[in-house]
Symmetry: C2
Amino acid sequence: MSAARLTSRDIRSESRLVVMRALLAAGESTRSELAEATGLSLGTVSTIVQDLLKYGIVVETGLLAKTVGRPTTGLRLNADRGRVVGFYLEDRYLETTVFDASLGRLATVEVTSEEPVEDADAVIEWILDALDAALGEARASRDDILGIGILLPGGMQRPVKAETVPSAIWLHLDRLRDSLGLPIVVDNPLKAIATAELWLGAGRRSANVVAVSLGIGVGAGIIQDGAVVRGATDAAGEWGHSLLAFEGRLCQCGRRGCVEAYVGVPGVQQTLADTAPGHPLTAMPPDFDFIAALSEAFTAGDPDAVAAVERTAEFLGAALTDLVALLNPEVIALTGWDSAAAWRERVLSIVRRRVLDDAPGDAAVDLSIEGSGTCGMDGIAAIAYERFMRDIGLVTTRVLPAL
Amino acid sequence: MSAARLTSRDIRSESRLVVMRALLAAGESTRSELAEATGLSLGTVSTIVQDLLKYGIVVETGLLAKTVGRPTTGLRLNADRGRVVGFYLEDRYLETTVFDASLGRLATVEVTSEEPVEDADAVIEWILDALDAALGEARASRDDILGIGILLPGGMQRPVKAETVPSAIWLHLDRLRDSLGLPIVVDNPLKAIATAELWLGAGRRSANVVAVSLGIGVGAGIIQDGAVVRGATDAAGEWGHSLLAFEGRLCQCGRRGCVEAYVGVPGVQQTLADTAPGHPLTAMPPDFDFIAALSEAFTAGDPDAVAAVERTAEFLGAALTDLVALLNPEVIALTGWDSAAAWRERVLSIVRRRVLDDAPGDAAVDLSIEGSGTCGMDGIAAIAYERFMRDIGLVTTRVLPAL
């Protein structure tokens, strides 16, 4: 990729997205309030609003009575402009969420399978069935769909084998697109959580945000200077596979000492096993139920659970400090297992101490660490919506993923 | 810092810098060659060239005979537009370099002091004397100076104490500016090496570059999407203080396990001491002479030196892999002690193997690791030159450091 060139179309595109995000944050707003919120001139905002009204992205809500001055016309995103659908796909699990055109969730359908769904035809049928079920719950039809986003978790690990589901999707994406007859965008969870922060989270108020996802695997979505950092091949943000401990624990990616091997859910369980071999909780499957159970044991004062939680907090704090050192964000937004844990505040206080005390230089001066991070499903919906904006000519490709 | 807003002035500004960098890379070029090199339209390039000619930034070099078609007018940066001066300042060492206006080095003056120069008046006097000496060597006068850049190494460590030189500079910058009566910009070495890559290095051909500086301290200058990543408070890139080994070696910053404690020069010496306690080279001061001596011992087949070098290469490879995981660059440009070492190729081959084999996903597909990185002095000159461009109204503040 050679050095990026901006055109004035890109500027208009970015300004439109900025206005839309400000409008989404406000719920209902006016042109002058939007100008104030975005830093754009009233003239620019008015031109942008005119375009967005013309394409039905924004609607007027009638005159708003003001305490001072004459009433002005209210604006909001047109939630009924259409529907956006997000898919999250694993080999035994499929989640389908239907959103309105202001990124509100209307319906979610989860389907699990006892056997991995691997055959490409079967995957496509699975997706189409789930889509119709979710649309039914949302009282919508395929005709309402503005765009579809597929969240593929593969990006957080080593390249997946060709026969697994995510690869089947990649290989058969054209066929899926033909079956649906609808625009599809595929992206990885790290870019999705960063995009979700832009639309719905800390990215609304800060240009430098890292969204950290804590799950079975872990990773970071990076916003720098108001834009999602994608890297040369869309693979930036693999914080889970950056190093915590040289020659440390074996990671599921095959390397040693990765952050994920310590703060992914199986890593947390490993820490408990290291502290207390044979502890009953070490026999649980390494999923969010384990985190909830560990949480409960911690709250009940189980000394092994307390030790494991505090050790995990030290690992997490060290790993987050790396993000601060390299990226100097203003906000770190956490999402995932930390929100399921009764000990979240304890973890955050250790993390804060470690990051704020130990960060090099004055990097951490304005750092806030929040547990309110957005999720990949919201992000993939936002990406699909941006893609729709591109299809109707309001947004340039610059803001969108490579696919 | 709230979300960045672009204006069309910013676009023109960025395009001007892109044209100037392309012209610098080419040495001599034509409007149509510049259009091809930059991806900008011929019309845009012509408008930009007209502005740059008007302000004397670019000069015409006469008609160039072409093998095909009629001759066209050659263009080059106007090296004699003026002079840019860069300073690098430590408490006992001051380097002053005078550049022409095409970032060519004209003269360098190095001054060392037996005692730390700490008093603010003494520091300012030291700088003014060195400036005049360097200008004398470059056959220039203060009137020729377009801008001055000061490179402050403090950003690569914990906050410096108020009484040390870099802080004295910060506290007395206005006084220095008054003494000189010239525009001054101050930046840290990580932002400078990134800017140098944009003007003179890998940033010319790739939008995603990490410039790695290996010295007593180590750090990274990050270019993402064609722009220098600064972070919320200009402190991004502190790779040296990201974690290599949880609870590992004590770093000079006071934390444990930092990358710098393993691949900074004192860290390399520590690795030798760990491998071979009492090895004669461990008694040397930890500077580039030590690296040269270790290099020599390695080449001579000293098994302790070979072991230390190979261990260092593993450390460096692991630490560079973290940069790949998080930032997904297309190019990593190394500069510093690796270039002084006869074993550079060996180090690089281990690094390449480790990065390419161990990087998560397909992050490393297009990665190139080069030893041709630029240096902070070139970068601070480029930043000072950008500042001059801003002062004459050709560049907006967006591309410049906060100060």
